[in-house]
């Protein structure tokens, strides 16, 4: 599904990602953990095609495509979805209007019929129910005035509508109350299919009780310093990151 090879990326001349290697197979869930500022969102952004990052070295192969050559929308149409850590507020653009445009662009790319207003509404209601999102949020401007939790839920709702192959959830758990966390995680689990993969960026082991990862990676200072099975997350919760920081220095 996804193979990241020796990825280096910088922002404004500062190198943030300093040689990432990661392989995600179809059907797998990978968790990425790591201290603040270690580069998790940068990695997620590079995968989704955020243009403010410069990739200086390395390659990303996604389902046979050279991902770095693709525009953000082309990636989305090929099934990449990023749930933003900080969803953007877009005044004047209704949540369903923009999502319909996105879904139909993706469907068109797949050679499917575009959905008309009625079909779309039906789909949207169904998915809103799945992630227990308040229907009044559908017609409001994208994320505008949404609470922190509502914004996160809106991300998962969009994911449910767009049905990506590779979903990258960047701290979707932060800002969610405990019940919301469970519904959102349930939503993610219901959407899982043997041919879909998920990358979950999180600070908390708690989420991983619900969305159980196949692998856990620890990102420190722009490198994956440790990978393991889901027990690694528990270990991190216990010991923090400092012991790995030391290890990364030793490795470097």
């Amino acid at each position: 599904m996804l193979e990241i090879i020796n990825l280096h990326a910088s922002v404004g001349g500062n190198e943030i990602l300093r040689g990432i290697d990661l392989k995600v197979n179809a059907g797998e869930v990978h968790a990425i953990m790591g201290p603040n500022g270690s580069g998790k969102s940068t990695l997620a952004g590079v995968l989704a095609g955020r243009e403010s990052y410069q990739v200086t070295e390395g390659k990303i192969i996604y389902n046979g495509h050279d991902l770095l050559e693709m525009a953000p929308e082309a990636r989305a149409r090929e099934g990449i979805f990023l749930a933003f850590q900080y969803p953007v507020e877009i005044p004047g653009v209704s949540n369903t209007y923009f999502l319909k445009a996105g879904l139909n662009a993706i469907r068109k790319h797949k050679g499917l019929e575009e959905l008309d207003a009625i079909e779309f509404l039906k789909l949207v209601k169904e998915k809103a129910k799945l992630v227990e999102m308040d229907e009044t949020l559908l017609s409001r401007p994208v994320n505008q005035g949404f609470s922190g939790g509502e914004k996160k839920r809106n991300e998962i709702f969009q994911m449910a509508v767009l049905e990506p192959k590779l979903a990258i959830l960047d701290e979707t758990d932060s800002g969610l109350d405990i019940d919301a966390l469970r519904t959102v995680a349930d939503g993610v689990n219901k959407l899982r299919r043997p041919d879909n993969s998920t990358i979950v960026v999180t600070h908390y082991q708690r989420l991983l009780n619900y969305i159980v990862p196949d692998y856990v990676h620890v990102l420190v200072d722009g490198r994956i310093v440790k990978s393991g099975r889901k027990q690694l997350a528990l270990e991190l919760e216990d010991k923090g990151y400092d012991w790995l920081r030391d290890e990364s220095v030793v490795n470097a």
């Binding site: 525009a71 990636r75 953007v88 877009i90 653009v93």
Partner: protein, 452 residues
């Protein structure tokens, strides 16, 4: 050197003015008996004023960013009388937006055969100003040229000198109009460059309620000049929406003066939308001359290519306890240029004034520009006045967010531009206009995108 230049300029200006002075002589002859009407004394005074002041120049503070030389140096021929130009109802259908009450003005002259005014409630007058000059002398004497004064500038002086026809609307006391009245101004093809001076007088009587739309369109690709003036009187307790849509051709010069006179407890709402014209100047003045007035003056301007769009607004708080709201938004692409100048006067007696003004601009290309200037002149001490202006580009984060959901870059930009414009369009209360404008803006964005 300087002196010589000035002398040369003065000479050039005289030559330009000459053209209108001799046009006026021809106009006068064409009037025959009408030249005996009292309005003609005013015409003569106005042309004398024009001879004296001529066209404004960029030395004029009020015209600093808008050079009207391209208008001044052209020999635009005045259109002295109504000719149907072979227009049929079918030709103009697409401009009517399905609004049932329609008054059509062709090249500045009211067209009886193209207008549809039979459904108006009894007592409501909508028709030709020329006719009102003959039959409604009371109203004419009380209002015509009292609000928009010809001494103010050369364009108003010309409008008054060549004053002959346009739209006249009178809504008597307490009448509530269910359907809007559409005043449709069409410029069409007499071959050589021409000028029309549509002159409109709109009177909303005490406690009346109505909505009026002025639309300016072209059916010609020739160069021409529209010098439009509307005087609007909003009587005590009246509620009036007045919208203006300018979608003239890219060969059109459009100078528009709208003067609104509001009386106590009246509520006036305006949206001035400019999408057309090569050079547009809107002078909009609202005088709040009674207590308890609400006045909303909004605008939207979309410039592309080499369009120049200048909006000058004046909100004059003359009396206490009035609120004014002003939102002007501009979208400038290509090499277009925008100007916004928003003046708010709060006179000495206008205590408890609440005035709010906002001007927001999206500048979409390096070669497009906007000059924006709020001007507050406050002579009362117990008032609330706020103003703010922004100039910006599209939000990159928002664009990325949309693209990350599969929407291509061009469409993502359009969605954001559309939303920016809709903020004004959605405030329109004339529903068919709102729908048409959404479609027009959508089409325009699409065309521009295809051209890239």
């Amino acid at each position: 050197m300087r002196k010589e230049n000035d002398a040369l300029m003065a000479q050039q200006m005289n030559v330009r003015n000459e053209w209108y002075l001799s046009s006026f002589e021809r106009f006068e002859k064409s009037l025959n008996g009408e030249a005996k009407m009292s309005v003609h004394t005013m015409r003569r005074a106005a042309i004398a004023k024009f001879a004296e002041i001529g066209f404004p120049t960029t030395h004029d503070e009020e015209w600093k960013y808008t050079d009207v030389t391209p208008i001044a140096r052209m020999h635009f021929k005045p259109i002295l009388e109504y000719k149907s130009a072979g227009l049929t109802a079918e030709d103009i259908e697409r401009f009517t937006f399905g609004i049932p009450n329609l008054a059509v003005i062709v090249n500045g002259h009211f067209s009886k055969e193209l207008s549809r005014l039979s459904d108006l409630p009894k007592g409501v007058r909508t028709g030709s100003l020329a006719e009102a000059l003959r039959n409604d002398t009371g109203i004419i004497e009380n209002h015509l040229a009292h609000h928009a004064r010809y001494e103010e500038n050369g364009f108003l002086a010309l409008s008054t000198a060549f004053l002959r026809d346009g739209a006249f609307v009178h809504i008597p006391e307490k009448i509530v109009l269910e359907e809007p009245i559409h005043l449709l101004f069409i410029s069409t093809n007499p071959g050589e460059p021409f000028v029309s001076h549509p002159r409109n007088l709109i009177i909303a009587g005490k406690s009346s309620q109505a909505a009026i739309l002025e639309t300016y369109v072209s059916l010609t690709s020739n160069k021409y000049f529209t010098n439009a003036v509307s005087e609007i009187v909003v009587g005590e307790n009246a509620v009036l929406e007045h919208d203006k849509l300018q979608v003239e051709s890219e060969q059109a010069f459009h100078v528009s003066t709208i003067h609104i006179h509001q009386e106590r407890n009246s509520n006036f709402v305006q949206h001035a939308i400019t999408m057309g014209g090569l050079l547009t100047r809107n002078n909009i003045t609202a005088v709040l001359s009674g207590e308890g007035i609400e006045s909303t003056v909004n605008g939207l301007y979309l410039g592309t290519g080499t369009q120049h769009i200048d909006n000058h607004t004046v909100i004059d708080h003359a009396q206490p306890h009035c609120n004014s709201h002003e939102l002007y938004k501009g979208i400038l692409s290509g090499k277009s240029r925008g100007v916004f100048n928003g003046k708010i006067f709060v006179r000495k007696d206008a205590q408890k004034t609440d005035a709010k003004q906002t001007n927001k601009n999206l500048v979409l290309s390096d070669e497009a520009s906007i000059d924006t200037k709020p001007q507050l002149e406050i002579f009362a001490n117990d008032v609330k006045c706020t103003h703010g202006a922004t100039i910006g580009q599209l939000d990159e984060e928002a664009i990325f967010y949309l693209r990350s959901r599969g929407i291509d870059l061009g469409k993502a930009r359009d969605i954001l531009i559309f939303a920016f414009a809709s903020d004004v369009v959605d405030r329109l209360n004339i529903e068919p206009l709102r729908d048409h404008l959404h479609a027009m803006i959508h089409d325009r964005l699409e065309t521009e995108r295809e051209q890239k």
